[in-house]
């Protein structure tokens, strides 16, 4: 078995006529990493994956595999495993025949083929379905056949295009776990595409966020969540309160930010007095202040809407200067039954919010 591959995209661009589907995307995937391309529909995820697989010829830029350029190679010369959106299993073949396909292509002997197929079916727990046709399998089983078929010839890079999108929520969660375990066990490089932010966060070592064909931000899931670079990233990865203010005064690494008549204390690395700043404040970072409790930032407001989520409450609180703030509280921490008009005091520390660039995208 050979090593897992490292892959780099350098200035990858794909134009269809005057429309730019992928715009100057550069990124690196290290050996054995799990990278997810995340973005809304039409952001160019599939196009990037198809360019990596060799089905789409880039208009500009290069694709490097372990430092060697592979941009002009046809797909059959790249030796990547691929799971297509919708699986693309061969309907006229049984599960075992589907798995045999890439091995037959490589001219492998029957006995060796059978051993490999059996081992791979065991890996995805489908041994008893070897003689069935894809149409006789459930969605989750088909998905695992597609995965097995992509793995059976031991590719060093696996490409997955929304492999779980056709499944219901419970099955999706199960297969997410399986995929993650599998990745850890076989140590190959995985490149996954999804528009489901939860899937991206739970599976990946690295997430690349795309919008309108551009790479907006790339990094570890927690880094992206805690320090989104732009308003789009903050809004796309979970929910966020957006607060727009002006720097009134700078004291070392923190700044006093005035929003209407309210002044906030905010940890801020850059920006001079008078600059406008946009802050992203996650709902779970806002605390409810009891009598006599204080925080670096405090505002008062009244509840305008709430919903019960089982594990917690989601509240919308109207404030005079900051507009409506959304916050989530664990059920056991909510000392009251929420009611409309109830007045609450909210607080958060100076490092709770993250400054973001305003890219005009929600």
């Amino acid at each position: 078995m050979s090593q897992a591959h490292a892959l780099s995209l350098v200035g990858l661009t794909k134009r269809y006529g005057s429309f730019t589907a992928v715009n100057d995307v550069s990124l690196d995937v290290a050996q054995g990493q799990f990278l997810t391309l995340l973005g809304p529909s039409g952001s160019g995820k599939t196009t990037i994956l198809m360019a990596i697989a060799g089905f789409v010829a880039p208009s500009a830029g290069a694709i490097l595999l372990d430092g060697r350029e592979i941009t002009p190679l046809p797909p059959e010369k790249r030796d990547f495993g691929m799971v297509f959106q919708g699986y693309a299993l061969f309907p006229h073949m049984t599960v075992a025949e589907n798995l045999a396909f890439p091995l037959r292509v490589r001219g492998m002997e029957r006995a060796e083929r059978d051993t490999k197929i059996r081992a791979t079916l065991d890996l995805v727990q489908l041994s008893q379905f070897a003689e069935r046709r894809p149409s006789q399998l459930s969605g989750g089983q088909q998905q695992r056949v597609a995965l097995a078929r992509a793995l059976v010839f031991e590719p060093n890079l696996l490409l997955l295009d929304e492999p779980l999108s056709a499944l219901d929520k419970k099955l999706r969660a199960e297969l997410q776990d399986e995929l993650k375990t599998l990745h850890r066990r076989i140590g190959r490089t995985f490149i996954n595409v999804t528009h489901d932010q939860e899937e991206a966060m739970s599976l990946s070592d690295t997430v690349a966020i795309l919008n309108h064909g551009k790479l907006i931000q790339i990094g570890a899931p927690d880094a992206l969540y805690d320090r989104p670079r732009t308003r789009f990233v903050a809004g796309f990865l979970g929910k966020s309160n957006m607060i727009s203010g002006r720097i009134a005064e700078r004291i070392g690494a923190t700044a006093r930010v005035s929003v209407g008549a309210t002044t906030l204390t905010q940890r801020l690395a850059t920006g001079a007095t008078g600059d406008t700043v946009l802050l992203s404040l996650r709902p779970e970072r806002i605390a409810l202040l009891g009598d006599g409790e204080t925080a670096e930032n405090m505002v008062e407001g009244h509840v305008s809407a709430w919903s019960y989520l089982g594990a917690g409450h989601s509240l919308t609180v109207e404030t005079t200067d900051l507009g409506s703030l959304r916050l989530t509280l664990p059920t056991w921490r909510a000392p009251f039954a929420p009611a409309e008009g109830l007045t609450l005091r909210l607080g958060w520390p100076s490092d709770a919010a993250a400054p973001v660039e305003d890219d005009g995208d929600e």
């Binding site: 089905f55 059959e76 297509f84 919708g86 693309a88 006229h92």
Partner: protein, 262 residues
Amino acid sequence: MTGGYGPGPFARTLAWMAVIYLVLPITIVIPVSFTDQRFLSLPRDGLSLRHYENLITSAPWLSAIGQSAMIAVVSTLLAVIAGTLCAIGCWRIGNRTTEWLRALMLLPLIIPSIVYAVGLYRYFGALDLLGTFLGVVLAHGVTGIPYVVITVSAALSSFDPRLEQAARGMGASLSQTLRWVILPRIAPGIASGAIFAFIHSWDELVMVLFIASRSIVTLPRKIWDGINENADPTMAVVAVLLIVLTLSLLLLDGALRKRRDA
């Protein structure tokens, strides 16, 4: 047929008259083939199998059947190979030009065959193909292509192009993809096309009259000659055989379609 209004008596009568008008000339040959007379007529004193016997013992008729079958098989092969490749090629390239090309391939179906035959006559004369087996096979094969192009294109339109990508992505060459993925998926379409191309050659007369000399006598040609020379009831027997063969091929096609759709 639930709900709605049933047809009125006028429409019903008209429909039945149309059916009879279409089917009667075909069915009339069945009793005629069992006639006990020596000329084309309905049976008078009883049914007889003598003309069936005559057919299977008559060398000229048997040779005509053999020639027709031979020509039909070879020209079907030609039509299937050329038509399938053309359909797959157009489908893979899939641009404006191939749309035109595909329309062009349907021309033999649209142009009256007599026009085609006149053209072939001039053309084959120059190539020394008149009156040869090869000439007839070429003519039938080429005019059989549209049937194959139509049925294979239909089969391809329901073929998931991602299957081809999947195969290529797993390292399959174009020919491996064709053999292991595309052809098995469109086999029912190819079979349908082959059946139609076969029927087309099997009962084609006009072109044969033009380009085949006395040395090539196909079954329709022999019937044609027979009608003009003597009213031998063996022709009715042959006609029955033609009907039976064509019907069973159509039924076969129906069965294949049903299996594909299942």
